[in-house]
């Protein structure tokens, strides 16, 4: 078992490194091959007022005059040593730009994840223990509803109701604790839907098991049954789903930050996109891929340790029991 785990861990580690490197290459290729020339669209933009000599200097400094494979190789080498290049717009190091706004996004994303987990747990509890004819079916419809609402709409509704009507937070002070709380709700609600769908499917599966019937027969109340018996086996597979929603959290923070007027990675992406600052965009997208791959690597490595029932067969990654094809389709990112 121990040896099998080591082999599995080594294999997943190598796989993760390969995926990260290829993700960088892929974004680089997307940026350089797609039509649309960053040099003409940014540097020759009359609003920027660069002279022809300055343009030549910037092009040479960024290595934009070299063939694309050479550019890719130098850029990849720099990426591996932690050098993310210079912003085309402000000529400041991209790493500095990202480091400045990262803490704010980390706060928002972790608060959003916390909201998503709490909401998913509440939906899971309600899906099992609310009276069948009163509320249970209604509650089970929530994940489907959450998946149909654009998250900027949730943000705007929260701003309109709690910012303007009730005055719970000041819209002009987006970094305050209260405003962050509401931004986290807007970010967390769509994410909670994906977690809740898998959690509810697992809870349904577990509550049909014999041990649940025995526990009920011993006279355990719904809350004790939920917390002591059902929650643990049902939420283990959810670990994998949570890791997969990281991409959702990163993408969602882009919109949530714009809606709430926060500064962060999202607003940096938004600014760089509107000014065609491709080096910044490429760095953020590659870093997002790194975060996504690392979080999923950790989830996959921790999972067999948490759940002794999981067997490591070949190179198949541990698969949540309840994550059938339907749940996988909606999350849209479960690898087989």
């Amino acid at each position: 078992m121990r040896n099998a785990y080591r082999a599995y861990a080594a294999k997943r580690l190598v796989q993760a490194v390969v995926v990260i490197l290829l993700a960088y290459v892929l974004t680089f290729v997307v940026v350089s091959i797609l039509p649309g020339d960053p040099i003409t669209s940014v540097l020759r933009d009359p609003q920027n007022g660069f002279t022809e000599a300055e343009i030549q200097e910037i092009v040479a400094a960024q290595g934009l005059d070299k063939p694309i494979p050479v550019q890719l190789w130098t850029s990849l080498c720099h990426f591996l040593t932690g050098d993310l290049g210079l912003s085309m717009r402000s000529s400041r190091p991209v790493a500095t730009l990202i480091a400045e706004v990262l803490p704010s996004t980390l706060v928002l994303a972790s608060a959003g994840l916390a909201v998503a987990l709490l909401l998913a747990a509440a939906l899971g509890y309600g899906s099992q223990f609310l009276p069948k004819r009163f509320g249970q079916g209604f509650l089970r419809g929530f994940p489907a509803l959450f998946l149909s609402v654009p998250n900027f709409v949730i943000g705007l509704v929260l701003i309109h109701l709690f910012g303007f009507q009730f005055g719970f937070f000041r819209v002009l002070d987006p970094d305050s604790v209260r405003a962050t709380f509401f931004a986290a709700i807007a970010l967390g609600i769509p994410v909670s839907a994906q977690i809740a769908e898998v959690l509810i499917a697992n809870l349904d599966h577990e509550s049909r098991q014999e041990y649940a019937a025995v526990a009920r027969g011993r006279g355990l109340g719904p809350t004790r049954l939920f917390v002591r018996h059902l929650l643990k086996p049902s939420s283990l597979p959810v670990v994998t789903v949570i890791a997969l929603t990281i991409g959702e959290l990163l993408g969602g923070s882009l919109i949530t930050e714009t809606v709430f007027g926060r500064t962060g990675i999202g607003s940096l992406v938004q600014r760089s996109a509107t000014s065609h600052d491709l080096p910044v965009l490429q760095a953020v997208v590659s870093l997002a891929a790194v975060v996504f791959v690392l979080v999923n690597l950790i989830a996959d490595l921790v999972y067999p340790l948490l759940d002794p029932r999981v067997k490591l067969i070949g190179d198949h990654r541990p698969r949540p029991a309840g994550a059938d094809e339907s749940a996988a389709d909606t999350s849209g990112a479960v690898t087989p």
Partner: protein, 282 residues
Amino acid sequence: MTVALPSSAWRVTAASRLAVLRVPPAVALSFAVIALVIAWSIVPGLFTSFDPVNGVPADKLLGPSAAHWFGTDHLGRDLYTRVVYGTASSVESALIAVSIGVAAGGLIGLLAGFLGGWVDVVLARLVDVLLAIPSFLLAVIIVTALGFDTINVAIATGLSAVAVFARVMRAEVIKIRQATFVEASFLLGGSRWHILSRHVLPNASRSVLTLAVLRFGLSILVIASLAFLGYGDPPPASDWGLLISIGKNYLKWPWLVYAPAFVTIATVLSINRISRWLRQTA
């Protein structure tokens, strides 16, 4: 016994036909919503008599009423009219996006699953890499490289969904390729092309189509988000996401946000309900 067989077989098909026809009311309502949305996108002029671009300045920021169902915007334009005229580009973009995803993703998945070997290894790795990049960020970087307009938003949304289609198609093809009837067809001398076109594609297409319906709803959301961020056509275009984005500057008149948001949510909810129904009956 021989007499009973055909009649029982007939009964089974009749029963399954009835099961298909027995549509739950929620699904019937969803189909009605989608029919209305399609009608809006094809003949918007039939549903409203107002002009979507030129407004009446004196009538600006009126609340919802019998004359203006969704109220009017800051330039005195009827918001219901703007929503109806914005349907075409919102829905068409989602259709383009899903077509790109089905075509490109389906081809990648088909090649990987059917050919196997090193082709499968290379393509499966490519799909893994695509899945590692958060799809919304991928769409943003593609639309930035292509330039901001609604058609590029549709292309970017489609490309960011390629990996999901490829994964499902590959899994289906591998599953079907190992089925006994494919083996039988091969032993009867069926060529690769024959097996592919007569057995693999028809059987794989069902789950890919179900996924396509689901991704159609999701694409409407992604395209609305990209339009909301200002990557689509600028005003006076009236994509749903753009309408909400304009409305957010006038939150004192909340129907400017709530009305287009309601239409978007109702559409996506209907599509998702239909997709779930297809998955249950299929």
